[in-house]
């Protein structure tokens, strides 16, 4: 898909607020919506552009990347990651301090990494395909596209972390699907043709499945990273030691540095959530340290603490 200046498409400049974007989108959508412009291919194309612009600019994360990388925004994350990896390999703290930028001349247009160039277009095909098709197949009166079905599938965090198959019944139809590891709460997928049957030769409707991920008592998920708490005792916090941390796949031993502060976080690389459709890639697990203070101290122990307090003055 050719590069689109999303701000230009919506007639806005880069300083536009979310409200400006919403208003501009609504105004243009009313003008170019395919329903309101029957048999007008140019309106349909224009509406696709407006929708794409709206999708990107109303999503703060996508907008940030778009503002930062412009035409190459879809590969921005990969670029950043590669740049960070390079900086690390050079022992540099900042990517710019290495002196030489290894990515000069890197052609994002030919980049063929994890971002499938077709992915975003598929997304729009998903978005527009069923709507532009409308309920009625073209030119054939009395022929209707089958109704779309929507359903919700509830998963535990553990289930969402593993690729697995699930069978469920939608309107009397049994459907078995493979749920890839890493699905997100609220993520919607479309199963083409799995909705109601078409009428008089019309195409079948689609089935939309929304995943709902139940909260987990051990882990909080933010994107692909997981967050948990670990309790350590005061001597371990002060003098260092080891503790056991629960991960999604089991327990691991973690070293605690001497003088670890309460509330500090330990990052366990690659022990987070599996990344959707990127086999073998995982987010990180962040364990927040909670120092448990001893209670019911004896007189001797209080005395020792007082001595410690005095020595720290």
């Amino acid at each position: 898909m050719a590069f689109l200046d999303y701000y230009n498409v919506l007639g806005l400049d880069k300083s536009a607020s979310q409200d400006d974007i919403k208003k501009a989108y609504r105004k243009l959508a009313r003008k170019f919506h395919p329903d309101l412009n029957p048999n007008d291919e140019s309106a349909k194309k224009k509406f696709q552009e407006i929708n794409e612009a709206n999708e990107v600019l109303t999503d703060p994360e996508k907008r940030k990347k778009y503002d930062q990388y412009g035409e190459n925004w879809k590969h921005g994350e990969e670029y950043e990651k590669a740049q960070q990896d390079y900086a690390r390999s050079r022992g540099s703290r900042s990517s710019g301090s290495a002196g030489q930028n290894p990515f000069e001349g890197f052609d994002f247009n030919n980049y063929n990494g994890n971002y499938d160039t077709g992915e975003y277009s598929d997304f729009f095909e998903d978005l527009f395909g069923s709507r532009f098709g409308g309920g009625r197949s073209s030119g054939k009166r009395g022929s209707y596209r089958g109704q779309d079905y929507e359903t919700q599938v509830e998963l535990t965090l553990l289930q969402a972390s593993q690729t697995h198959k699930q069978t469920f019944t939608v309107n009397g139809k049994n459907i078995r699907i493979t749920i890839p590891a890493g699905v997100e709460d609220g993520q919607k997928i479309r199963l083409k043709g799995q909705g109601a049957d078409g009428v008089n030769g019309g195409p079948n409707g689609d089935l939309y499945i929304t995943f709902s991920i139940k909260p987990d008592h051990r882990f909080n998920r933010r994107g692909n990273d997981l967050y948990t708490h670990i309790d350590i005792d005061l001597p371990t916090a002060l003098l260092g030691g080891e503790t056991i941390v629960d991960t999604l796949t089991g327990k691991i031993n973690v070293k605690i540095k001497p003088e670890t502060q309460n509330g500090s976080k330990i990052r366990l690389k690659g022990k987070g959530f599996p990344i959707y459709k990127k086999d073998g890639d995982f987010g990180d697990l962040y364990a927040e340290i909670q120092v448990k203070l001893p209670t019911n101290l004896t007189a001797d122990q209080k005395n020792i603490v007082e001595q410690l307090a005095d020595s720290l003055k």
Binding site: A29, D35, P38, G135, R136, Y144, E150
Partner: protein, 91 residues
């Protein structure tokens, strides 16, 4: 031929539409609701209309009166397009 009927409450649920919106469409003569044994149903073609109108309402921010005006104008455009096509074929 027996017509397929869809319960209004199911259509509202699957399309995330307010029940009152469907009733407003009905009150303004934009769709027809069939009542059978105290249950409200829509014929398949009416479901298509409800889905279309709900897109206009929720995505384009059109109220029911606006939907009625737009719907009438689109019918006229489609009639004119058909007429134009027929005239072109005659030539």
């Amino acid at each position: 031929m027996e017509k397929t009927l869809f319960r209004v409450i199911d259509i509202c649920k699957t399309n995330n539409i307010e029940y009152t919106f469907v009733h407003e469409l009905h009150s303004n003569g934009l769709i027809q609701i069939i009542v059978q044994e105290e249950q409200e149903y829509l014929e398949e073609e009416q479901v298509y209309h409800v889905e279309r109108y709900s897109t206009w309402h929720y995505e384009l921010d059109l109220n029911v009166q606006g939907i009625e005006v737009v719907s009438n104008l689109i019918d006229k455009i489609e009639d004119l397009q058909r007429e134009l096509k027929a005239l072109k074929l005659e030539k």
